[in-house]
Amino acid sequence: MASDRGRRTSELLDLRARIPEHVVHRDFPGETVVLNVETGQYHGLNATAGRMLTALEGADSIGSAVIALAREFGMPRTEIERDLSGLCLALADRGLVELGDARAG
């Protein structure tokens, strides 16, 4: 969603990133391939972005995914917040994730 572009990182952290029904993905060594069935377009994510997508899928909010990834990568939380927020917005622009209220469903 284009409006997500204007969202501040702090607002994004409270949201949850859901992979919609029309998106299917598979991890391969070195790359994750994502298919948007609605548009017929394939997208490639590098290993780090692929790991972030998996973390988002299992987290109840983007903020909690940040905590898990910062621990896993041994990186400062602020750096992960910046990278993960950018990834979430890029994925949302392409219809590969939907950003919504973390408390819903």
Binding site: V24, R26, F28, P29, G30, E31, V33, L35, V37, G44
Partner: protein, 321 residues
């Protein structure tokens, strides 16, 4: 006019993972036990097909030329498919992929039967839910090695060479992959090949099999040494032939994107994308995938030297970089 006994005769076959029950004999097909789910193949007349087809006001779902003849595949309002192969034949496939009616312009005729045993049958296989890879394939002691490539890349010539070295023909052009819950298995195509009559790329039919018909530039051949059952896929080689390439076999670290260019699908079946993605992602993850590259003039024997160890156990190590 066929007699009473002849009219009652049926022939049960299997091709591209699809059980078939034909009212007339077809060359090069695996005989199989009768199946309740078989696609029934019957001869009829063109006017009869025109009466049966549910008809469509829309554009054909596939319009192309095959072997110099125009080909149109049209989707009817009732979900049936009308396939018109030039002036040679018209085919009508029912919406549930259980009945195929064939109306050839002349019987017997070779061109329409070749078209039936290739494009029409693999289309039916695809429409029944089986996924397809554009590849020739040969079966050896290690399983099936498939050679995926675009037209003119040398798939058939390489398969001919490997059959001559003791392999069994698995498919000339299309590899069928039914949905799998466990180990992926490929299903063989007809034991038929279209062997190019070009001395520089192929030595001709020789002892490969029996020439059914000579078409311009190629022989339609039945191959006695052919696979009789589904088998596991031992390797897939992506054939790349072109100027500047050197002869080499290289193991890839593939993703599904490496295979998708060689898969078959109809544009109107976009709902199949998810299934195709899932199946070929499994293929990419579980089966060794190689890039087999060669310059334009490389003889099939030199390519076969590289891939032979993938096919036969105990023939040394695959010469992959």
């Amino acid at each position: 006019m066929p007699g009473r006994a002849e009219r009652a005769q049926v022939f049960d076959y299997l091709a591209f993972g699809l059980p078939l029950r034909s009212s007339f004999p077809l060359p090069g097909l695996l005989t199989a036990p009768a199946s309740r789910n078989a696609l029934s193949i019957q001869l009829t007349s063109r006017p009869h097909i025109e009466r049966l087809w549910s008809g469509t006001p829309g554009e054909p779902v596939w319009l192309t030329a095959i072997d110099g003849r125009p080909y149109a595949m049209e989707l009817g309002a009732g979900g049936d498919y009308l396939m018109t192969y030039g002036d040679e034949a018209v085919f009508l496939l029912s919406a549930n992929v259980r009945e195929l009616r064939c109306a050839p312009a002349e019987q017997p005729g070779a061109a329409w039967q070749r078209f039936l045993l290739d494009t029409v049958l693999w289309s039916a296989s695809l429409l029944s839910g089986i996924e397809l890879l554009h590849a020739s394939a040969v079966q050896g002691t290690a399983g099936v090695a498939a050679f995926a490539g675009f037209s003119g890349s040398g798939k058939t010539s390489l398969a001919v060479e490997l059959v001559r070295r003791g392999g069994a023909l698995f498919s000339d052009d299309i590899l069928a992959l039914p949905p799998a819950t466990g180990e992926l298995q490929a299903h063989p195509g007809p034991a038929l090949m279209n062997v190019p009559r070009e001395p520089e790329t192929c030595d001709g039919v020789g002892d490969l099999g029996h020439v059914l018909v000579q078409f311009p530039g190629e022989d339609w051949v039945t191959v006695p040494r052919a696979a009789a059952a589904p088998d596991r896929i031992a390797a897939i080689c992506l054939l790349g032939r072109g100027p500047g390439r050197t002869l080499a076999l290289r193991r890839l670290q593939p993703t599904v994107l490496d295979l998708l260019p060689f898969t078959l699908g109809f544009p109107h079946l976009s709902g199949r994308m998810r299934h195709r993605f899932t199946l070929f992602a499994q293929v990419a993850a579980e089966i060794p995938i190689y890039e087999l590259s060669a310059p334009p003039g490389a003889p099939p024997a030199s390519l076969a030297d590289l891939v032979e160890p993938l096919l036969f156990r105990g023939v040394g190590q695959a010469r992959a970089a």
